[in-house]
């Protein structure tokens, strides 16, 4: 019933701690122009614009999409602004795809961004509310106890997280847009980096980045005419659950498992580990790779760490994960989810450059947010479904 939708253009900015040579509109425009170029279309071809970013307080502008809209060609067009916590980049891509899949629009531009250098994210996440005591320092303070819970229940070796960090940082060296480029990255370098939120070390955490990611999506009749390869959307899915309730499994939330099962069913995938060629997974702290290997049903519960340990998630493994260097290497929060979706699409288009997986036909893009409670995912392929 739904229209087919293809990703025909992708644009990313260079990611860096500070892109102070650009304003916010300039940052979005850098990504949007590259996406239009890639799609071989102009601003006039775009029917609607979908903007995503994390909390407004990160840049101190309320509903910034209102002032940014015309910089990305949205003047006198429909414009939507999505915000679903850390998963927002993924959800934004899904909303944009929906506009095409519903037959409402023919060709849509979506942009997600964060300019973390314009404010202080840890502050915005730790605003002191009356009646309470602030004890959780930013996202690391929130997730570290959950990582400890995962280590306890899975019995994973203590160095699993270090191995993930080394792999993703090595992958980033193949991605010229990645923020962190650590030429001399090694196991010892990660292991000896300061423990920030025990058990999470400095080099096991994501950086704060400025950056934007954009995609042009179009309906089948338009996308088919593209001179470049198209990433066809086979399935999108999202799930949310409350932050806390009695007995909630915060380490392996049901929303993640339900989301994965529904996604694969829609995409006609029976055995995800066999059928998916590579995945871009939202891993802001290294330990979340093994956790989401389980959460995305690639590994049995409590065994996700084995995939990391055995090298299955390396570039030459059977399921490469975060070929681009992942969130650990570039983290413009509001865009981080969309980058996962876009990198998955680049892989099946065969346009991922030095971090291309040979013969990638089917790829997963994944994002999560809040207290491990918002999940958004898609499956893209070089073939129409």
């Amino acid at each position: 019933m739904a229209e087919l939708c293809g990703v025909m253009g992708i644009g990313q900015t260079r990611y860096a701690a500070k892109r102070q040579e650009l304003s916010m509109p300039g940052l979005l425009r850098e990504a949007a122009e590259r996406a239009l170029d890639d799609a071989g279309c102009t601003w006039a071809d775009i029917d609607a614009v979908v903007i995503g970013k994390a909390p407004d307080m990160f840049e101190g502008v309320m509903m910034p999409e209102l002032f940014l809209n015309d910089a990305i060609g949205g003047a006198y067009k429909p414009m939507l602004r999505v915000h679903t916590a850390g998963s927002v980049g993924g959800s934004t891509a899904i909303v944009a795809a929906s506009l095409v899949q519903s037959g409402v629009h023919d060709r849509v531009l979506t942009v997600a961004y964060e300019k973390q250098s314009e404010s202080n994210a840890t502050w915005a996440l730790t605003i002191s509310m009356p009646f309470s005591v602030a004890t959780v320092a930013g996202a690391g303070g929130y997730f570290a106890p959950l990582v400890r819970g995962y280590i306890r229940r899975s019995g994973a070796p203590e160095d699993t997280g270090i191995r993930v960090a080394v792999k993703d940082r090595q992958n980033a060296l193949k991605n010229p847009l990645a923020h962190l480029q650590l030429e001399d990255i090694s196991f010892d370098m990660v292991a000896n980096s300061p423990m920030l939120w025990d058990p999470i070390r400095y080099l096991e955490t994501c950086p704060s980045s400025d950056g934007a990611c954009a995609m042009v999506m179009a309906k089948e009749s338009i996308a088919t005419q593209s001179t470049k390869p198209v990433a066809w959307i086979h399935a999108t899915e999202m799930r949310s659950e409350p932050t806390m309730f009695s007995g909630r499994d915060q380490v392996m939330p049901r929303a993640s498992l339900d989301n994965a099962a529904a996604l694969y069913k829609k995409a006609g995938i029976q055995n995800p580990r066999d059928e998916i060629d590579c995945a871009e997974i939202y891993v802001p702290f290294s330990w979340f790779e093994p956790m989401w290997m389980e959460g995305m049903l690639f590994a049995p519960i409590n065994e996700g760490w084995k995939m990391t340990y055995e090298g299955a998630t390396a570039l030459d493994g059977d399921l490469p994960v975060n070929m681009s260097g992942g969130v650990l290497s570039s983290n413009p929060i509001g865009a981080s989810g969309m980058i996962r979706f876009a990198e998955a699409a680049l892989q099946v288009r065969g346009m991922a450059g030095d971090h291309q997986i040979d013969g990638a036909r089917k790829a997963l893009g994944h994002a999560y947010g809040g207290g491990s409670q918002y999940f958004s995912t898609w499956i893209v392929s070089d073939q129409k479904p």
């Binding site: 101190g60 005591v133 959780v136 309730f245």
Partner: protein
């Protein structure tokens, strides 16, 4: 263009100060009034009877308001469910680094609360430890969780993992 005019401005400082008056809400008000008197009041979900501490506006699992009556007074002792040793400063947190952020399951509660651990060597911190609240002097009590300065270890055997594992 002269040099000064073409020189890019990379940073504009624009301090934003906004004042908000938050409403604690009905459920949190009962909880905070209790704290003012040194009482730890949990509330039952009317659907499954589980005890929420701290209380929220409603049971998030069932989407119903917490039972108005029948606050459950809980003891100020509990079990350390999970923790992290924090070595990152944060402008909003006045604690000296490093400090231990903890999730505590009070005896009789069915949800954890976040707080910090004190009077404990870092290498001795572990899951399952039994803890007790260390209160501020009574004359300083307010409508705040801050009436509890921190939790301290109790000289008791650890709680078995099975007794708290569903709360991680």
């Amino acid at each position: 263009m002269s040099e000064e005019v073409s020189e890019p401005i990379e940073v504009l400082r624009l301090p934003v100060e906004l004042e908000y008056q938050y409403t604690a809400g009905k459920s949190a008000s009962r909880f905070l009034r209790g704290l003012q008197q040194g009482k730890l009041l949990g509330q039952r979900c009317p659907v499954d009877g589980r005890v929420y501490f701290p209380t929220r506006g409603c049971c998030p699992q069932h989407g119903v308001p917490m039972a108005e009556e029948g606050s459950i007074e809980l003891p100020d002792v509990g079990t350390l469910v999970t923790y992290s040793i924090v070595r990152v400063p944060s402008a909003n947190i006045p604690l000296e680094l490093p400090y231990v952020t903890i999730q505590v399951l009070l005896d009789g509660a069915d949800t954890v609360m976040m707080h910090v651990l004190g009077e404990c060597e870092l290498e001795d911190v572990h899951m399952g430890m039994r803890l007790e609240a260390k209160w501020k002097p009574e004359e300083e009590w307010e409508t705040s969780v801050g009436n509890i300065l921190y939790f301290v270890p109790l000289d008791e055997p650890d709680a078995p993992y099975e007794s708290y594992k569903e709360h991680i």
